[in-house]
Structures are given as C-alpha cells and as structure tokens.
Symmetry: C2
Subunit: 459 residues, 2 copies
C-alpha cells in the first residue's frame, strides 16, 4: 500500500491540473443554454475513465442528460462496489459575489475555488484517482468497481431512478459508495451511515363556503385559519414530541453506542444557536441536538397560507386555509404508513365546525447502513489510515432519494464518504474544496478498496 | 301628515322615472375612465336638490370626486339633521351575469334592477323625496336638514374625513341619518343603532436568521410557522373566549332589553349554518349567534402566511411567519388600548426560541346610539307608522368609519335606517332594490322629520 500512497503523493500537481480541466467545463444542468457544456463534461469524464484504465466505458443517452458508466470486473470472488457521483453543477448567480470566476479554478489558502470543486466534480474525481493508483501501477483493483455518474443531480435526478431500474443488472453491486457530502467538521474524517426519510403532506381546512366579511361574520363561524393554527399547534406536545397517534411506533431507537458516539462530536448548542440567530434551540425533550437532527423523527410546517396576505388591512374571514407539513422519518418508519397515520390523526381531531382534507405530496424511505456492516467498517479503516486518526460516525437529517433507490433496487447498502466541509458554499458563490481533504480523500479511496477486499465477505 | 303621505303615494311613477335618470349615469368611482360620469352624477344630484327646494346647494371639489352639499335651515329652535349618502357606485364586472344591463334600470317582480339601486343612489333618493314632500306642499320642513353626499364611498371615502373636519361648522348637526344598509329581513323595518370597532394588527414571528433546509435542521430549531400557529391557537380558550389579558375589561355588556330584542328576530342557527356551508356554527359560549355578531368583541385571523406556498413539496424551514389579526370591538372598548393589550399579550406568551414583532395597521372605534335616544325613538315611530308594524333593533358586526367620524368631529349620534335587503346583491351583478321598501322608505322619511321635531329636545 505504501507504494500506492507514494504514487498519490507524487502526483498532486497532475491531479489538480486534470481536475482544473474538468472544472472549466460550465456544466450547469439548470441552464438550457449550457446543454452542450453538460454533454462536453459527460464525454470528458468518459474519456478520463478510459484513460485511467476503466473498461466498458459507456455514455448512455437519456431524454435529458446522459449517464456515464464504466467498470473494472476482474477481482474474481471479491465484492463489487458501485461508485455514484454527478458531473453537473449548480448555477453561478450572483456572479458578482465570486472572488474569482466560477469556471476558472484558482487555489487560495489551501482551497481550490471553482463551481463544482466540492459538489461534486472534485469529490467524484477522488475515486477516479483512487482507482488510477491501482491500475497505473501494474496491479488490478482488489475489488470489482463500477462507476455511474449522472448529469441531472442539481435538477432533481430526473432520469436516475428509471435508469437504475432499467439497468439493474449492469449496476448490480454489493456496496454503494457516494462522495457528495460534507465531513462533520475540519479534521473530522466522517462516515455518514444514516439518512432520514420523508412524508410530505398538504392540509386544506375549509370553513364557510366563500370568503366572508370578518366584521359581518366574525365570531359566529370558525375561522379556517384559526382552526388550522389549532390543528398545527396540537401536533406537538409540551415536550416537543409529535402527537400523531402511532407516530413513534416503528422507530428503531438510537443505540447506546450511537448516542455515545454523537456526544463526542464537537457541537455546542450555544454556538449552533448563535449561528442560526436564535436565543434558544428547540426540540424533543430527552435528546441532544444531534440526536434530534439525525436520529429522531420530526414534524415541520414547511408552508402555511390563507386569507389576505398583501399590504395593509383587509377584513376577510376566508373560506380556506392551507399548510404543507412534512415529517422526517428515521429507520423503521415507513413513509406511506406515517402518511396514513397523519391523515387519520388530523381527521380525528378536526372540530365539527370546519372540514379538512389531507393529501400526500411526496415520500421517501429513511436509509441506514449499520455501523457494524462491512462497508462501514472498511470505510472506517480507510479513513483512519489516511487521516491518522479515528473517524466519526454521523447521520444526515435530510434525505438523499438515490440512496433509497440503490437500497431498494440493487439491495446494496450505501456508505456516504463526504470530503467536503459544511461551509464550502456548495450551492453559493466562491464554492471551494479544501486541498488537504482532496488529497487525503484520494488516499482514503485507495485504502478503501483494499479494506473492502479484506473484509470477510460471502458473495 | 296624511296629506303628505297621500302626496307620496300619488307620485310613485314620477319618483321612479327621476331615479331612473340618476341610475343611468355610470358613476363608478373605481374606474378612472368613468370620471366624467362621476362628475355628471354629482351635478345631477346638485340640480335635483335645488329642484326640490333645498338651498345653499354646493358642489365642493376635492382632489378626488366632489362632495355635494345642500341645506334647509328655517326650522328655528328645532334640531338639525345631517343626511349622508353616496352617489358613486361599484364596478359592474362580470357584466355577462347581469340579466339586464346595469345602467338601464328595469323593474321585474316588484324589484328595481340597476347598479346603485340599493347602494346607494336608491336609498339616498328616498330622503330627497321625503324632503320634497314637505317643500312642495307649501310647508317648510319641521326640522333643519343638511345633505352631504360623497362620490368616493366605494373606493374608501378617501376625502370624506378631511372634508368633515374642514367643514365642521357647515356640517354641524344634532343627529346624523344614513340609509346605506339593509333591513334585518323582508318586512322587518329595522333600526341599526350600533357598529363594532376594529383593531387590525400584523404579527411577524422570526425563527432562524435565514430559511433553512427542513431535513438538515428540522427538529432542532423552533419553526416560526409552528410558533405562530401556537400563538394563534392560544388566543381563544375552549369556550371561544379571547384570552388576550384585559380584552373584555371595558366591554359595555348587552342589556337585558337588547338581548331580548335580538332573541325575537327570526334567525335560525341551522339555516345560517346551511347558508354558510358549515356543519356547525362556532363562537363564544353563553351567547347567541346575533349576540356574538353584534354585541361581543371577537378576534379573527384575516391572513396567515410563510414558507413555501407554491405547487408541490419544498422542504424549507422558513425564517419568518406572518399573520394579520383583527379584533372587532364593542362599545366601551378603545382600539388603541386593545391594540396595546394585544401586543403586550403576544410578547408575553412568545416562547424564547423565536422572536415576535407586532404592528397596528388600522383601527376604528365602535359606535353606539342608545336605543332610548331621541334619534332612535324618532326612527322607531317613523318606521312603525310607515310599515304599520313594530320595527326591530339591530346592530352591525362590521364598522362604518364615517359614523365614528361624525360621532367624534360633529358629536352627533347616527341612526342607520337601511331600506335595502341582505340579498339585494349590493356589490354583485343584478343589484336591485325592493320597490315596497323604496316607497315605504319615503313615507318613513316623511314621518321621521316630523317625529324628530316633536321629540323633547334641548338644543
């Protein structure tokens, strides 16, 4: 392994100049005028995959942007790893807030500045260089590797789900590796092993059959805005627990090991509150902030509206009131089941003076790759060796739909190895990637393939 | 008096043809293209006032539409009555829903159809004909009469308040009479003696200092939409009482006589609920629907908004949430004081996890002309004589700002003698006025002047 790590260290400059080429292509999927650039990035990536020794390189067209695929499958009897990433990038507005132009990569203070440096060209490039280290040094890879890169992640991965289902056999793998997220903090090599799921609902409360004058009718008919506020207020108890009946029934509790591990992470409530501009944090009693965010299901009002919302004073008692309410789910919970519990609960508590309708707008399952699974263990060892320190376990409060798709269609657990940092402006001006993390990332990639190959594994 | 009533009865046809002329002028104040027609209506009215024998006729220009004034002040030692009305009308859209064109008056089934027939050309015309009956029959009026008609009522009476203050001496009167509203129901001659006031507030709840991703942050920070819902839900107790501290302190309770009088009115909760399309009415326990609407202060949410309100599912935890909340006030309550109580209360109950700001947008005092005051007694007798039955006392749940202005600037109590009906489409297509009410209205006007003159009055 030392041999490979030496190789990585000697090639830092070349890695950067190659990545600069990739970053110079303005592959903004959200801008129809950049269609040619998006295609250019796909083909640049395909050519590069061929160049490092990957085989079976293919650019699959979709009705949107193409999927870029490549594999190397000569590690007989060893597991197969699917590496996912995306070669499209976010728009760059407001352009005037960039210190240097977004598509002219520039290094300042140990950071590489460019749109896509962190999200996700720089991070996916890490694993290309990890693979290259093996293939350019006269040895094969210790595991079988497949790459799949899409060009629509920043516009909702429109064609990815269909593609994964259609190409299920081609993409078949034992593990999935994604580097498209952030480490917990600088110098905290991190493994993200869990994501929350989602049930997103819309609630419509109807009072009188038309908008009324609030002077003429106010006080004799239940105002649907008030009724909606009463419903929403009742969805949490005084301890911050969600009151929806049965909501917590299927929750797999955080283990003692997980809670202990989260507690060791350097997150101060006071600093977090200050960063968010609030005097006091809020949440479910009995849990720390990280436990609330990563390991507990929650209920959020995402939108609420009705009546007069313009300038000034209009005395209306509206006919209808609306809210968008989403529940974040943790492992064990099922989005459809929770959506039904929510609907049932709201219909049970609605007063007779109004009517309510509930619609499910969107759902996604939670994802969890157990800490003691082979993939997580391999990631742990790889990080430890590259960083010379113990990695931390983390989860994400949000959802990444493709992780669930891989889990469901490929039956493959996913490890999220993020090499970005939380403040690297992934979707904002001056996006950057820390160079230490970039180079350490390549070393981690090299170690990871090796560790995965040595895990006890029944193929 | 019989002599005058005979005169009225003999002139029905002429009254209608004169009113038709007035109604044919499309004096829509909300339509800048109708400016000439609005002016035409003002001058038609001025000419008509002169024609019936009123004196000192003046058309006062404003930077908007003019005020039309006239008086007859020869009843030495007798009270002075100011009659207010408006000669502008609502827009007519949607035009295709009119059975006959809005500015071509047409009689069908004992109703006169035209824009302005009920609101307010037809109703103000009633008092012109009441005055005419005296002045055209060789006798003077038994009281002093002043008319003031504006042309901006349908666009918020923009210049009326300033005009009343500026022309305080010209408009000085002991009583004010307004016919611009509806009777309780058909065949229920009605006196409206009270209006609710208003304190209209805007509430802004701030949580985090920017919009957050509800997955990444949901559950660890108090969602301002939820906090706003909790605040709003807490503003009523389980008996429908407003919880704002001190809210009811200054309320002058309904008297036994008033409550008895309201109870005799034919208003069925079941029919009212059906009309509004609700299964069940709602309101403050211990009061009937009419008491809630007319005699009790209330609190209404007029608008509420925040977060994502478009189509679909966006997972935002917003920084801010807003509500427009108005309180209807009854006699005894002061809008400024109630606004302060509201602000104090909301600031006292807001949790530490969010901040709140409260702004007063608008306010208006309640108005009450006691049932046993001379003006109300005169109106009662006049209605009884014209209709041959006992009138009913009613209040309005809404506010009419000009009534408060007359009360404050002129120190004159107002009687609201409405001759419209609640279902006459005042602001909708096919506006109409019941002809029986129109002719009975003129008789009422004749009797009212006479009754007012005979009241014990200390000028």
């Amino acid at each position: 392994m030392d041999h490979l790590i030496d190789y990585v260290e000697k090639n830092h400059d070349r890695y950067l100049s190659e990545l600069f080429e990739f970053l110079r292509i303005p592959s903004i999927s959200g801008d129809p005028n950049r269609r040619d650039d998006v295609l250019k990035a796909a083909h640049w990536l395909a050519a590069h995959l061929g160049g490092i020794g990957m085989e079976n390189v293919q650019v699959f067209p979709t009705t949107g942007n193409p999927m870029v695929y490549a594999d190397w499958l000569h590690a007989a009897g060893k597991p197969t790893l699917l590496v996912y990433g995306h070669y499209d990038v976010q728009p760059v507005d407001p352009l005037e807030l960039w210190t240097t132009p977004p598509f002219e990569p520039s290094v300042r203070d140990e950071n590489l500045y460019a749109r896509g440096s962190s999200d996700d060209k720089g991070q996916l490039f890490i694993h290309l260089k990890g693979v290259e280290a093996y293939l350019k040094n006269g040895r094969g890879l210790p595991v079988n590797v497949k790459f799949i890169f899409e060009g629509e992640e920043e516009i909702g991965s429109v064609h990815l789900e269909g593609f994964v289902r259609e190409k299920k056999d081609l993409l078949k793998a034992n593990f999935v590796l994604i580097s498209d997220s952030a480490m917990f903090a600088y110098d905290f090599p991190s493994i993200c092993y869990g994501l929350r799921g989602l049930s997103y609902m819309q609630v419509e409360v109807t009072g009188p059959n038309k908008d009324l004058h609030s002077g003429t009718f106010g006080g004799a008919v239940h105002n649907p805005l008030q009724a909606l506020a009463e419903i929403i207020a009742s969805l949490h108890d005084k301890n911050g627990k969600v009151t929806v009946k049965g909501f917590y029934d299927d929750v797999i509790p955080l283990t003692r090991k997980e809670r202990d591990s989260f507690k060791r992470l350097p997150r101060k409530d006071s600093a977090f509150a200050k960063e968010l501009g609030v005097k006091q944090l809020w949440g479910e009693k009995g849990y720390t902030t990280l436990e609330r965010l990563w390991g507990r299901p929650t209920l959020e009002v995402n939108g609420m509206w009705g009546g007069f919302t313009g300038e000034g004073a209009k005395t209306v008692l509206p006919s209808k009131a609306f809210a968008k309410i989403s529940m974040r789910l943790v492992p064990g919970q099922d989005p459809d089941k929770v959506a039904k519990l929510f609907e049932k609960h709201v219909k049970a508590i609605v007063p007779k003076s109004v009517t309510v309708s509930v619609e499910k707008l969107h759902g996604g399952k939670p994802a969890l790759t157990p800490i003691d699974s082979d993939a997580v263990k391999a990631a742990y060892e790889a990080l430890r060796k590259a960083w010379w320190k113990k990695p931390v376990y983390m989860r994400e409060g949000g959802s990444i739909p493709i992780v669930v798709e891989f889990q469901q269609t490929l039956k493959a657990p996913t490890v999220l190895l993020g090499f970005g940092l939380p403040d690297e402006n992934a979707h904002a001006p001056d996006e950057h990637l820390n160079l230490k993390n970039f180079f350490k990332g390549i070393e981690t990639s090299v170690y990871f393939f090796d560790e995965l190959a040595s895990m006890t594994w029944k193929g």
